[in-house]
Subunit: 242 residues, 2 copies
DNA sequence: ACCTGAACACCGTTCAAGT
DNA sequence: ACCTGAACACCGTTCAAGT
């Protein structure tokens, strides 16, 4: 009942959760500190889960004091979000590469390549992924998720537009549903702690699912149509995109 | 530093989270209390989200003291789980009804009916669903989710076995993947706060997805085969199942 | 049989004091 | 420019005391 009214207000309307470090490290020792904090976060996350993750524990594991942690992240959520963002960026980058590499391929080929790219990127850090999703419930996390989704779906849409001999009446929706289905399925499967046999089966079936959905969602346009082959996509794609 | 060691241990290894009320209400006033608490939980959940849900707030909203709340639920998670379970049971029941009603139909018809049943059940309490999923991260929540998944997939498998003229080489996996895809997609869509237009599009596309996947995952057996028509499924189904 | 609410421990966050 | 850690407020949970 001393510092009451102000601090009370502050706790009811807490500071906006920022994703960026509140302070940008300028000296090399602080760059190292930030790196240590992020790494410690992942470790604690994997060992104890979000439920038991405390800022003190993270700081301790990183070998710094809590105060230091709060110098770079305005709050616990911001810390988790930073780590989440890095994880998702990894996936997004893998997808962009796969999309670029598949330009001009057949729809079936695209579906296959891209689906496997996503699943394998996800599986490469499966446990981390699960732990992070559990931390991704706040409104701010949605902003990150939306951004990454946008980045990935854009890459997919651009790729599908280069598919020879077909037209998608509503590429945006098709892509969004298809991507969401794959991402959502993987999330459920990983969260449920599925056996590796089930994961393998899911991997197989999701490829079929993507193929089936994409081939159903497009219209074949006849081969003589001027829409295709303004130049030879299959060849330029094979050589021109990394 | 007075009650130290014991209470310290207790907080490091907290009591198992139970889903059931720790005490079963026997007098009518307490039955009413439990009802009020559950209802208050949903209200607070919808108004403030899990992040801001406190046991005190729930108790206050329910018109009881915190102590009373803890008489029926061993901890906050147990309370959330109880509400989650009721929500999911509603979905599961809807699915069981849809599966029973579709026995003996064509695979396409089954896919359509069952997919729409799920989506519409989910949409009927969409906001509650999102709020609850955010609360469903603890290990105990997984037990509930697994149970419900089992219940739903069993119903689906039994239904698919009655599809005339086809055989599924691995029904279990097919069903699990297909169901997970639909559930996961809806979860992502709802959590992302999608527009009703996108929800409608997703609804449409998911039906196609389910049809596509199920028809791809089965083998047609020829009509003369003795596998089908040990009796006429189509007719018995129409009359015999509610 | 059921309810109450002050009291305790833990955790997120801050800030005055250090190098 | 960066770090420290005691101090504060809030929240989950308990338990002695009530009806």
């Amino acid at each position: 009942m001393k510092k009451t009214s102000v601090s009370r207000l502050r706790s009811v309307f807490p500071a906006r959760t920022l994703v960026k470090p509140r302070k940008t490290p300028v000296q090399s020792r602080s760059t190292e500190t930030v790196r240590a904090i992020k790494q410690a976060t992942i470790q604690v996350l994997l060992e104890t889960g979000v439920g038991r993750l405390t800022t003190t524990r993270v700081a301790q594991r990183a070998g710094v004091s809590v105060g230091t942690l709060y110098q770079y992240y305005p709050n616990k959520n911001a810390l988790l979000h930073a780590v989440l963002k890095e994880h998702l960026s990894f996936i997004a980058a893998a997808m962009e590469r796969a999309c670029a590499a598949s330009r001009g391929s057949s729809v079936e080929q695209m579906a296959r390549t891209v689906t496997l790219a996503f699943i394998d990127a996800k599986l490469r850090s499966a446990r981390e992924s699960v732990a992070l999703y559990a931390a991704a419930q706040s409104g701010d996390a949605q902003t990150i998720l939306t951004g990454v989704r946008k980045r990935i779906t854009t890459a997919l849409v651009e790729m599908l537009k280069t598919a020879p001999g077909v037209r998608f009446p509503d590429v945006e929706t098709t892509v969004l549903v298809c991507y969401t289905a794959i991402a959502g399925t993987m999330r459920e499967v990983l969260e449920a702690g599925a056996s590796s046999a089930l994961v393998a089966a899911t991997r197989r079936e999701l490829v079929l699912l993507a193929e089936g959905h994409l081939t159903k969602a497009c219209r074949v346009i006849d081969t003589a149509n001027q829409q295709i082959r303004k130049d030879n996509w299959l060849q330029t794609a094979a050589g021109g995109y990394s």
